[in-house]
Symmetry: C2
Subunit: 524 residues, 2 copies
Amino acid sequence: MDQPVSRRTFLHMVGAVGGSTAIYQVALGMGLMPEIRHVQRPDIAPLARGQRKSVVILGAGIAGLTAAYELDRKGYEVQVLEASHRAGGRNFTVRGGDLIDEAGQPQICRFDPEPHLYFNAGPARIPGHHTALLGYCRELGVELAPFINDNRNAWVQDDAMFGGRPIRNREYIADTRGFIAELMVKGLDAAQLDEPLTQADYAQLLEYLRQFGELDAEFKYRGSTRAGLVAHDYTQPEQRKQPLDFRQLLQSRFMYLMSFGEGDDQSAMMMEPVGGMDRIVTAFMSRVGHRVRTHAPVQAIRLQEKGVEVAYRHKGQERIVRADFCLNSIPTQLLAGIEHNFPPDYAGVFSAIPRGKLFKIGFQAKERFWEREGIYGGISWTMQDIMQVWYPAHGIHRPKGVLLGAYTFSEDAGEKFAGLTHQQRLDLAIQQGEKIHPGYRGYIENGVSICWHRMNHMLGCASQWSEPLRTQYFKRLQQPVGHHYMIGDQASYHPGWQEGAIHSAFHALTDIDQRVRNVALVAA
Amino acid sequence: MDQPVSRRTFLHMVGAVGGSTAIYQVALGMGLMPEIRHVQRPDIAPLARGQRKSVVILGAGIAGLTAAYELDRKGYEVQVLEASHRAGGRNFTVRGGDLIDEAGQPQICRFDPEPHLYFNAGPARIPGHHTALLGYCRELGVELAPFINDNRNAWVQDDAMFGGRPIRNREYIADTRGFIAELMVKGLDAAQLDEPLTQADYAQLLEYLRQFGELDAEFKYRGSTRAGLVAHDYTQPEQRKQPLDFRQLLQSRFMYLMSFGEGDDQSAMMMEPVGGMDRIVTAFMSRVGHRVRTHAPVQAIRLQEKGVEVAYRHKGQERIVRADFCLNSIPTQLLAGIEHNFPPDYAGVFSAIPRGKLFKIGFQAKERFWEREGIYGGISWTMQDIMQVWYPAHGIHRPKGVLLGAYTFSEDAGEKFAGLTHQQRLDLAIQQGEKIHPGYRGYIENGVSICWHRMNHMLGCASQWSEPLRTQYFKRLQQPVGHHYMIGDQASYHPGWQEGAIHSAFHALTDIDQRVRNVALVAA
């Protein structure tokens, strides 16, 4: 066997010995595969026999549950204190009978008790590179299905164009691209390029633009089948739509949203758990539910020389937990109001980071009217306060459906909805939805509104870290103080996403594991 | 009640009286909703008591099954003759144990008997505007789930760029768009516009381009998070990838494919039946299976004055059926070899229409290695013969998966694969797949190849209608001769799609219904 082996033969040999995971690792090592680097799930050392370490975790959201799960299975004594009546934090799937615990105006959801009638009031989608979260889905048996963001059959509505008449997403996109490509071809030979292109490059560029805009032989845009046909009757010759008026298209601020589905975290393919996002919470709880105490709001956090003491209320009494470590996912702006002995610079971070005011509405519709419009999932966009209407891609063709009737990222719209009663919010969302779906009101049976910055024990959505805030405060928040660690999506570079929450827990767990190993080393 | 009512109040009143379908219809009528026109499902008059009409249907594909279902439930005597061993035609989901009946080299599929291990060898996706097919899914209880075409995490591989190294779809798209947008801004003020834009339009156009390419404040492209991050570690500041070399990107013929997912029939959101495309066949067969005779190849079709006579072989014997009407979905190129008494101009169409040579491979993989690469569905593209690799979006995180290892539209590649043995085809597809997934060979357990133009009773995929052929022949093929109608996707403006097949049946059924009604009228 002195003959040189080919790269493929070598991989094959490795496969025969180590199985295909070995092939994968070797291929990565040989530089054959473009690697994507991901955060490492901490490989926490199991505690030795007789070794005792305790951790108190504040908040049973995704960060807290991740930490509890990882520590519990390595022999740590874990206790999770959750202020509200439920685990999950902003991972919250609303079903008939559920309480939406808004300060001052609690609501009970009145959806029918059907498995497909649920509403993900918090996170609702998972991109394929959120490997930590997906890893837990795999490990804990959470079934996943595709989630749809982009639907070219959905609507775009903006009072600034076409008198407010909704147009199909596909028309907006195809016609805008067509005109833009045509304009570009006109301007192209005049372009002053930094790096001169060869004649061949230039020809390729023209071809790219032709494909991109679906231009004709003279590089003119004369409409595109991508915009949809006048009629979907395949007994007849295909008939293209007339292109829309380009200047009207340009009036729309929708152009800002056209790129939404291009984002690293929003582009296809996305996923969702079958049956609701809180299947993830349920899966974690099946492992560590016995470690979680709900209705247990924290009253005080006291750093001690060898650990942390936490006071909380439960069943009318103040109770005390002492632990070697504390992992704290309480929203920073709430922490500011809790008794503590943190150093002032650390505590100063808490009130410095503003919170988002994301707002969502879920409607139960008595008919899946959107399916009659050729829409089976995805998002319609409007420049009104409600901003989005989402259609469920699950439960297709069943008698009823729960759709998202509003999802606004805008602070102004968030404030506007917050100032209304529950019923007023639904009415406003219906009124605005009528511009997209005439007759909308007639289909809506009931609804819920989630105003994250008014939810008890929350009072805010994701942290709004600006670049200056990051520079000034992030490291301080991320590093522990004594035996106390801040976790949660707030303590990550990806707030508002479960993956950020998990990574924050990984960061703290890695550090704790290292400290525990070092102590064990010294003791040995 | 003499007060004028608002439009909304009016719609509300209508809803109270007629239910929400009434609202929808009235909204359409008022011009509030942009209507999409669809072919009408024929409203076939039920036969009167004692009235007898017989129809013989040739071919149990989607067109034939549609016709059988519609006629059977209206009291027609229906018989379906199917040459092969199975119903469905090109709607063919391959599972372990299934026969792939290729001329000269039959194969038996060796996939494991798990419900998620199947391969849609023919149609595999349904767009939201295929309302006829979706209507049957709804009516017959075929459960649907999203299907994924575009996956930005999937790969693009082309020897013409980056030395053949695969790059992520999202990198190709984001970087190409960025550079194109930058170039366009440079050329823009020099562009000679047919219709001068105002200063405000111009500003909007620049903003569009900035959004489109994710350009910086100086309208330069300096990389984009849309291309993915260097690492997905949210404990660290976000780090953008360096943009790829634009001239290399331009070398790739992948630009032709970048617009694939923009097409009317390919853009998100797409769907597929849960459990395999042939759930649709199963659903039809549950209603009309007793009318279908398999292993019944047609030998002759004879037009008669008051009907059609069909001779076929079954269990070694020639048999004769006479019927009032014949609906014929036999592929035109096979018809040319069957005895008939068609007028020469009609028969002349049969041999004039070429057939596609689409080719697919399905592989069973022992691990879902693509999921470790962040790919959970969608398509990788390569300029090699295999052209595409599809990843299943169902069965996520299960131990094994069936992926599509080749799907070529190209006639040359179709011929190339056709000339190989089954095993050689799989080997070639594995060898080419290695360029996308190093170590690929180690994951593949077994596979099947479907060469549509070599399948018995088929010998071709979709009809390849060119514009001149349409002009010359289509009307002739679509119109009946006597009591004989050609149906199937071949007799539609949408060959290769089930919706086209259904519309062809609708067209024939509408005509038959009209003739039967007219006769009944004369008789009355």
